[in-house]
Amino acid sequence: MIIAQQKPLKDIAALISECNKVMLVGCAGCVTVCLAGGEKETEIMASSLRMMREVEGKPLQTITYTATRQCDPEYIPPMDEMVKDVDAVISLACGVGVQYMAERYTDKWVIPALDTKFIGGSTVHGEWVEKCGLCGECILHKTGGICPIIRCSKSILNGPCGGSQYGKCEISKDVDCAWQLIYDKMKALGKLDKLMEIQPPKDWSKSRDGGPRKAVREDVMIG
């Protein structure tokens, strides 16, 4: 899922300092699961902003709504009436949701309340880690199910580099060396010979370097 985290509240408050009424829009998708922009977080943020403004002697009006998914245009129109008289929309979705909101409400200023971080999963409650680099051409079958594109700090395809020691990456003793993990897994699978194959340079045109990507499934298109 997409992992996002809230921007500092004071930063969001500063962005809307001139507004009298704002709408906060949560999302019931990934950001609910990672506890950043679900219904609960949306209500808490709205009340926190109101309190800040109350203290400043410049009360703020808020309305809140949580869309089933902000990354799906069909869930946006139900907000058409609500956004009409607000000065700004604060989206607690990932960057995709913020853009769908801005696209539909062309005359509204849409503010991101979250920093969209990465694609990953949870380890323990309250901790999420990055697992997929969205490179557009999965190679996990070659690397024992461990992604070197995103988990190696240099995205090396023929690792590990000379900075790997005691199982850790040179950048930090808190970061596992992805290639040590790959080595261990391939060894356990009896497939170390696979690591002797020189992996050729990657086709980054399948990643973001080819420009914004599009995935098409003609078989499920309607009409």
Binding site: C161, G162, E170, Q199, P201
Partner: protein
């Protein structure tokens, strides 16, 4: 046979090679570089020119290489994969060759986190293995990385790579070395050796697989100036092993600098005389280039062999 470079000729003719290292400065004057080059000129066969080592901005390795070459030393241009994509790399490969560079050392490069621009973006469009292979294909197959033909004057480098026997997983370090040789590496410089026992184990496995017959391995050695320097490397540099005994030896020395030089000379003699398969030494006198002539001379490696330019391509 014509050789690709002086270093190539010295190594291929079975002579024990000596390389050193010159770190370009963090400003636009090459006076210091020229001074170091002049000083080392007769004592080394070639010098590495580092490529923004530890991710700190410095004069580019190729630009510095031009001055080193002018001062009479054959440069070994270091090229990391951190800062350039394959287009920029090839442009620089062609550029370095047309400026007279003949040796290139391919490395991953230190992560930018360690340098003076930790908020920069790293590139790693290709990794060091792929760079070695592509550099070989440019020379032997006359093709760019993409496979497109190089119609004339292909860059013909003597290709180097690095190996770190002190990084993990230990067993895979031998595999990875072999992989680099398969990719096209002709000479290898190792990470600074302080843990001689581990290096010997590494070389034993290298010999078992005959890798030393297929590539020239130069043992990387660094003279230490102080026990604090040793301690710093021991605790802060990933991929480095500095035994406590070395820290202690410098700590108890009356003149730590002299002790550091003595130790380095002992190590050079040891790898040369006792470890089979080592074809040379790479003396990395970090920020201490002045000491290289003394180390080379006292190690019994002076004078250096002469190479007739007519033997080179």
């Amino acid at each position: 046979m014509k050789y690709l470079s002086k270093l190539h000729k010295i190594l291929d003719s079975g002579q024990f090679a000596v390389t050193a290292e010159i770190g370009p400065p963090k400003h636009a004057s090459v006076e210091g570089v020229k001074h170091h080059a002049h000083m080392m000129k007769d004592y080394v066969d070639a010098t590495n020119i580092t490529d923004c080592q530890t991710a700190i901005v410095r004069i580019s390795s190729i630009a510095t290489g031009v001055h080193v070459l002018g001062a009479g030393i054959e440069p070994i241009v270091q090229m990391t994969c951190r800062d350039r994509n394959r287009i920029a790399m090839q442009a620089d490969i062609l550029g370095a060759y047309c400026l007279g560079m003949r040796n290139m050392l391919c490395l991953s490069g230190d992560h930018q986190k360690f340098g003076n621009h930790p908020t920069s973006k790293n590139v790693y469009d290709v990794d060091s293995m792929q760079l070695i292979q592509a550099l070989r294909r440019m020379r032997d197959d006359k093709v760019f990385f993409s496979g497109e033909e190089i119609k004339e004057c292909e860059p013909r480098f003597f290709i180097g790579a690095v190996a770190n026997p002190f990084a993990d997983p230990f067993e895979y370090r031998i595999d990875r070395l072999e992989k680099k040789v398969e990719a096209g590496a002709q000479f290898i410089q190792t990470q600074c050796i302080f843990d001689m026992e581990r290096f010997e184990r590494f070389m034993e496995k290298v010999r078992e697989r005959g890798i030393d017959q297929r590539v020239h391995i130069l043992a990387g050695l660094t003279p230490l100036k102080s026990w604090r320097g040793a301690k710093y490397m021991q605790s802060n540099v990933s991929g480095m092993i500095v035994p406590d005994s070395i820290v202690e030896r410098l700590k108890s020395a009356e003149d730590p600098k002299k002790e550091g030089v003595d130790l380095c000379i002992e190590q050079i003699k040891y790898v040369r005389e006792k470890i089979k398969g080592v074809h040379g030494v790479h003396v990395m006198a970090i920020a201490w280039e002045e000491i290289v002539p003394e180390i080379v001379e006292r190690s019994g490696l002076y004078p250096r062999p002469q190479v007739d330019p007519s033997e080179l391509e």
